[in-house]
Amino acid sequence: MRARLHSRWLVMGATIAGIFAAVIVILLIGGYDTSRALAALWDGAFGSSYAVLSATLVRATPLLFVGLAVGLAFRAGVLNIGAEGQLLAGATAAVAVGLAVGALPRVLALPLALGAGAAAGAAWSGIAGWLKLRFGVLEVISTLMLNFIATYLVSWLVRGPLQEPTRVYPQTIELSPAVQMPLLLTGHRVHLGLVLAIGLAGFTWWVLTQTAIGFRVRAVGAGAAAARSAGGIDPARTTALVFLASGALAGLGGASEATGVTFALYEGISPGYGYSAIAVALLARLHPLMIIVSALLFGALEAGAAAMQRDANVPSVLAAVVEAMIVLGVLAFNHARTRGRQA
């Protein structure tokens, strides 16, 4: 176990170093002021307490939730690329319930909103799970379709039933303070959602490594035939459970974002967190505790990229290039590793 964790750090380090070099090359080709851009990247991510506590950690929070969701699904061999839709479902449910229970005290209202978010995410992903187990529909296609459906549903809700009363802006009214996540430090935007996400990462790790349910999930992911034959495990049942749990994590991510950052529902509530999640989970090699580190790195990257756009005029989509290269790098590395094992 220690050796495996050790190699995970090594992979992460090597991947990041390679990608850093590639980014510099892109900046040079693009004719950007490279030193200024890199300085902005660093300052935006780690340069000040504001950068860390109000940008990096705030962005890392939803990434951690969805990264866990994707990581858990991939561990069990479920190709859930629908974290984006599940996150939107979670955010929507959290806001809808939050608006209804805003008058209750926070100890009741906030958990209700978060619970609704988790349940909605689970339900959204449960549709894909049901379609797979009942009709054999590939989850790749169904979760992708469900992402679009969720996007349009949100788009409709914020212009229809959930729109703010003046009907000017396509968004809901602001959540009452009773359904807002408490801030961890006054004056900084980092909120309780981060603690919750880190706690869930630990919990997911504990479940996967220490409990019978988690063991079954890992067994089905690593060898479904052996799990069934030698362990009597029902892969379909385990897969169904993973769909629900993965959706719940992503939904909770949406709820955390809505109650901790945006305080309202609107169309662009997620800038593609659900897709970045794949990179987050893969860089961590699907290890829940490493996903914490990986989410922090991606949070820093996105915070830094925003600063880079602001200060050095380098488009923040450069972050997407980096994310993609990380995924491709991990895939290439996995290939080299399996090759090495065969030789």
Binding site: I29, Y275, A320
Partner: protein, 306 residues
């Protein structure tokens, strides 16, 4: 306000054109057994290539560059999936992300932050003599930019090619049973590589159409999920050339309905209409998967050596 049905249909066909082009590419890829989530990436790469090409050498160069850029994006995909044996879903997502990011970054680098003002010449609609005067469908189908007629040719070509050539048969066999293809002397890796390359070319062409026949300029992320819509179209069209044409038209008109409702002043939730084709796709999947409309090995990796 009145609404002109012919105008609506013309706009639907216009919207459906890039969708259908990309979907025909994806149809070929999926018939070979691969789901190409990198199609969205090929499309945005094609759009960017079209801008670069057209601003340097006119519309023709624009389309050429669009195709080249689309191919480049899926070549990366083919390399990762067929040679590195990586999961196609993850690889496709990465390729799309990479293309979105790279085009955005390069766009600003080449044309500056004010690049949005940059515009390139576009293809004007060309009326087909005689046919465009047909009632209803005339203007809709026969008063379109040349790209749309290229689409018709492509659709007919594929409709003929898939069942009537040995190459089409080899493609279908690869998507159904790669081991059977291998035993018959066909290399599934080669077939999938060519299929992906074709899919990339079509995705790039679709991106080019967006820029050179519709918008007239490039914008960051302008493919806006059309590559994924194309995947839905292939599923909804049940992997057949005719089905894809109908499904593309359905998606095209669904996205035009919002303008109809707006101009009529109807308070209809058009977003739900936009979502409808996706719901329909899921229903079709649930209803037909067991009856094996999909290629049997769709999404399954190859375990034979290249």
């Amino acid at each position: 306000m009145s609404i002109d049905a012919a105008e609506f249909m013309q706009a639907s066909v216009r919207t459906a054109t890039p969708l259908a082009l990309a979907a025909y590419g994806e149809l070929v890829v999926e018939r070979a057994g691969v789901i190409n989530l990198g199609l969205e990436g090929a499309m945005i790469a094609g759009a960017f290539g079209a801008l670069v090409g057209a601003s340097a050498g006119g519309i023709g160069a624009g389309f050429a560059m669009a195709v080249v850029a689309g191919c480049a994006a899926t070549l990366l995909m083919a390399w990762v999936v067929l040679w590195l044996r990586a999961d196609a879903v993850i690889a496709g997502t990465a390729v799309t992300l990479l293309a979105l990011g790279l085009t955005g970054t390069l766009y600003r680098a080449l044309y500056g932050a004010q690049g949005a003002a940059l515009s390139v010449p576009t293809l004007a609609p060309v009326a087909v003599p005689g046919l465009h005067q047909l009632p209803w469908i005339g203007p809709a189908f026969f008063e379109q930019p040349l790209a749309t007629y290229a689409l018709y040719a492509m659709a007919c070509g594929l409709w003929w090619w898939l069942p009537r050539t040995h190459a089409g048969l080899a493609l279908r066999a690869t998507g159904e049973r790669p081991d059977a293809a291998l035993a018959a002397g066909i290399s599934p890796v080669t077939v999938r590589a060519w299929a992906l390359l074709f899919g990339g070319a079509m995705g790039g062409l679709a991106g080019g159409v967006l820029v050179l026949a519709q918008v007239g300029t490039f914008a960051e992320g302008m493919s806006a999920g059309r590559g994924f819509i194309a995947i839905a179209i292939v599923v909804l069209g049940r992997w057949s050339p005719v089905g894809v044409a109908l499904a593309a038209l359905l998606f095209g008109s669904a996205s035009q309905l919002q303008y109809v409702f707006q101009s009529l002043g109807w308070p209809v939730p058009y977003q739900l209409f936009l979502a409808l084709p996706y719901v329909l796709t899921l229903l079709v999947l649930a209803g037909t998967q067991r009856r094996a409309a999909a290629p049997a090995s769709l999404g399954a990796p190859l375990d034979t050596a290249p």
